[in-house]
Symmetry: C2
Subunit: 188 residues, 2 copies
């Protein structure tokens, strides 16, 4: 049974109580613009891109799923390390992220064609409205991006839609600065 | 319209973007064991006991209400400063608290007679299950207790039940230590 007290380090986001789910670059085939560089990086050391907690709270509409998400610093070519991103299976469910450490972006888009970008800095609470897919992006050169998240227990994850069509926008580094560009490989 | 980015200071819990709701001791008549001391403290300077944010997210089952809660250090006689505490109007809705700063307790009870106590320390995520009333208690001699909270947007607040019957348990200081005692004025 899930304990009602779980401690997450405010700097690393990790917990002595529970194990995170880890996503290495090998699990993100086709999600970065520069697939050749991604494949070479997988060959070299297959870096850990992000980790997050799935605590197994009951999948009920009255429950709240929560935990931390840690996106590490790095780039695939010019593109910052990021999470896969997903819609909720129950599309009409929101999510909130509270940034504990690091520097990054929350990229959001809905099926109606709206998209939104918010900055994640320590202390920032970013609200992902109902119907919006969301992806965390770490824009810092070295520090992990650590957030605490909460959403409805039965919301579920739809990764497939993003895996097949991609996000409308991408975050890349140009001349040392973050730029948001149209995703040339978007399939809608 | 509510912005999707609101920043809350990780140490104070306060925000330059939004104003908190403040609760002074004068608004907590009958909630502390030592009513005479409470009345005298109200006469003297009516201290601020706690503040929290109500950001006005849509009251929809898919929305997530969130913000910070700050309970200040202090006592009414031997009883630690605390929030009024409440059930959700939709009883079958949970809540999660992530402690940012300070030291305290989350006191919980449900209508079936179960009660639970969890320690709030920086990094602790305390889960308030469905059906549980909940109250934050600051047990530190001087530091504010700061938490980030999230619950379903339509959950609502039922303060009346606790105002009329009280919690089953109280947190008091005896010999410099926190003790949990039965509430002698509980009306069930």
């Amino acid at each position: 049974m899930l304990s009602n007290l779980i401690t997450f380090d405010q700097t690393t986001g990790l917990s002595a109580d529970v194990k995170p789910i880890q996503r290495r670059l090998s699990e993100m085939a086709g999600m970065y613009l520069d697939e050749a560089t991604r494949a070479a990086m997988v060959e070299q050391n297959d870096p850990l891109v992000y980790e997050f907690h799935d605590l197994g709270v009951p999948e009920r509409p009255g429950a709240i799923a929560y935990g931390t998400s840690i996106t590490y610093a790095g780039k695939v070519g010019d593109e910052y390390f990021m999470t896969k991103g997903h819609f909720h299976s129950i599309l009409e469910t929101a999510e909130v992220y509270y940034c504990l450490k690091g520097q990054g972006l929350m990229l959001m888009e809905n099926p109606e064609g709206d998209w939104e970008l918010q900055k994640l800095t320590p202390g920032a609470a970013v609200y992902v409205p109902e119907r919006f897919a969301h992806r965390s992006i770490n824009t810092h050169p070295s520090d992990p991006l650590v957030t605490f998240f909460a959403f409805r227990g039965d919301a579920g994850h739809d990764y497939g839609t993003i895996e097949s069509q991609g996000f409308r926008k991408l975050a890349i580094e140009r001349g040392g600065k973050c730029e948001i560009i149209d995703n040339p490989r978007r399939r809608a």
